[in-house]
Symmetry: C2
Subunit: 336 residues, 2 copies
DNA sequence: CTGAAAGCGCTTACAG
DNA sequence: CTGAAAGCGCTTACAG
């Protein structure tokens, strides 16, 4: 079924059908009704490729995970932001495309892929690292929105959860509970997000007038549980333990918890712990884990709106920050 | 940049460039090299819409979650299968498209969307329920592969994890540990997957010569934690507890655990529990949760290959079963 | 208000 | 081995 057949069935020209499909006003109500009825009956749906070819607009948004390939869907942050983004983008009239084709000329060449599909815009969600191919896309004429990723291109904008505020909420919470000897477990040293959190944490400690003990600031290999275990184990063996620890991810925090339990120590009695991310497991562990939650739904919805404005030339870029929330559970005790 | 300009730059015809792009053999090596070099220099990538329009083949696979809209990416089963599927489909030369556009004529009309994008095939991953719109797609001429979803169309095939085997492994494990009074916590009564697991469980209990006590077979409202809590609470209040419980999901199992702990009961000392899914939280709870793991990676990879064969007419449909694995942790004790 | 025609960027018989 | 031309299914000035 195509537009030509619809036109024949309705006894009108192809142009007229096209106008009706696109809500042009200069069509008589009578022909309009007749044509719409036939469209309804036949279930006709215009070919996206023909339409894209003619208009240079695909109504497609490219989704890119800026991190190691093929782990994206198991990355809880990515997935939750994406869920909200997809929903909102759908309301705005767009579908989503994921680049996976490995036969593509240069397999990491996002810009070429975007051109290939004539996407109207891209969302780029931060994983572990920043790739050069992302920079190329950012600097191109394709509207891009970064989530937890600083984009500087003229057609780009970005959203960040406020990493300084994350750190500040953690430090304040520790402070009010009376903890003064604070440690930090980070992800790998080249992780942008981990480094931002660490910098904010140090700044916040200093602004509360406490001292920063460098022995208690250690990086793991990655964001995962065994790294947190290893770092805590190292502290336990050295006999020099912080009284309260902020971990750059919940999994790191859970690893640290495991090491402490193994040594018969109490949480928060001996060491208090705060994680970051609020993954589902936090609610089911023992003790349950106090953590920082980023408002992923808000990030996704805002990303959709900002991208839409960028596509329609209603925005000149810029950036926006989303406030994180402290989720108090058992792992560092509580006041009162 | 388009094929015409490449042709001009190389001093050949558009046809020739096209042949080279598509690896036709009847082109002289000399022109081929010249053209390839220009393509390389310019970074030219052919327009997908023009190609799709000309060939009626989009190299796009539609991804559909057969369940409540807008929860898909937070559904761990979906997401893990999808990760493996995407990777394999990429190797086979396809990209993935997600339908989200809500302005679409009928918003659940998957078949129309598939036509609109001329997708080469679809993967449909089972969520909670089966929608009529899925049946329409299944019966259409578009190749479809179902994951944990029985598809019967002439261009369809499906993959299932063996629910009977899941149940059988659970019952055998309980049996060998000496438990004889077995209970079951299901999801809502209209959940296909939950019902299959229950049926298999009952069959397995009977085949081990044990008796099925209907008081210990209860459905929750859904797959989530509060449902499991509610069911166990009800048993606790009635004073009539099974000795060992299989829950249709890990979250249901964790809810049951919470209720038991609240009543000061020991797991597995008083009640043994086995969950289903092997979500990440199982490793971090106390006690850690014994569960059944579906081989989601294998499901994803197989789904990709089967769909590829369906698209290329190499397969006449059919179905395939993937073996589940029992993951033994602490929640029902262990032998030896 | 309606329609004929060119054009979007490819592919594919077909002729040479 | 190479190229001219029709066709894929739309949209969009433009003429009437």
């Amino acid at each position: 079924m195509n537009i030509k057949r619809i036109a024949e069935m309705a006894g009108v020209s192809v142009s007229t059908v096209s106008k009706i499909m696109n809500n042009y006003s200069d069509v008589s109500d009578k022909t309009k009704q007749r044509v719409l009825q036939i469209i309804e009956q036949t279930g006709y749906s215009p070919s996206n490729s023909a339409k894209t070819l003619a208009t240079r607009k695909s109504n497609l948004i490219g989704v890119i995970f800026a991190g190691e390939l093929n782990v994206e869907f198991t990355h809880p942050f990515f997935v939750e932001v994406l869920n909200a983004f997809k929903k909102q983008m759908g309301v705005l009239g767009y579908d989503l495309i994921f680049f996976s084709n490995e036969k593509f000329i240069h397999s990491g060449d996002y810009f070429a892929r975007c051109q290939h599909f004539q996407v109207d815009g891209c969302v780029i969600i931060s994983g572990q690292k920043m790739e050069p191919a992302i920079r190329e896309l950012d600097q191109s004429s394709i509207p891009c929105i970064g989530v937890d990723l600083e984009l500087t291109g003229s057609k780009s904008a970005y959203l960040m959860s406020d990493n300084f505020q994350i750190a500040s909420k953690v430090v304040e919470h520790f402070y009010l509970l009376g903890y003064r000897e604070l440690g930090f477990i980070g992800s790998s040293a080249d992780s942008d997000i981990s480094n931002r959190r660490e910098a904010g944490y140090i700044k916040a400690i200093e602004s509360f007038g406490m001292t920063v003990n460098r022995d208690w600031f250690v990086h793991g290999e990655d964001f995962f549980e065994p790294s947190g275990y290893a770092v805590m184990k190292q502290w336990l063996l050295s006999g020099n333990l912080p009284r309260a620890v902020f971990a750059a991810s919940d999994l790191l925090a859970l690893g640290a918890v495991r090491a402490l339990k193994e040594h018969g120590l109490q949480i928060p009695g001996d060491v208090a712990i705060i994680g970051c991310d609020d993954i589902e497991a936090c609610k089911y562990t023992s003790p349950t884990l106090t953590t920082i939650r980023q408002n992923k739904e808000r990030l996704g919805v805002l990303a959709a709106h900002m991208l839409f404005d960028l596509i329609n030339g209603q925005s000149a870029g810029g950036s926006f920050t989303v406030e994180p929330a402290l989720i108090v559970r058992e792992s560092c005790g509580s006041r009162g």
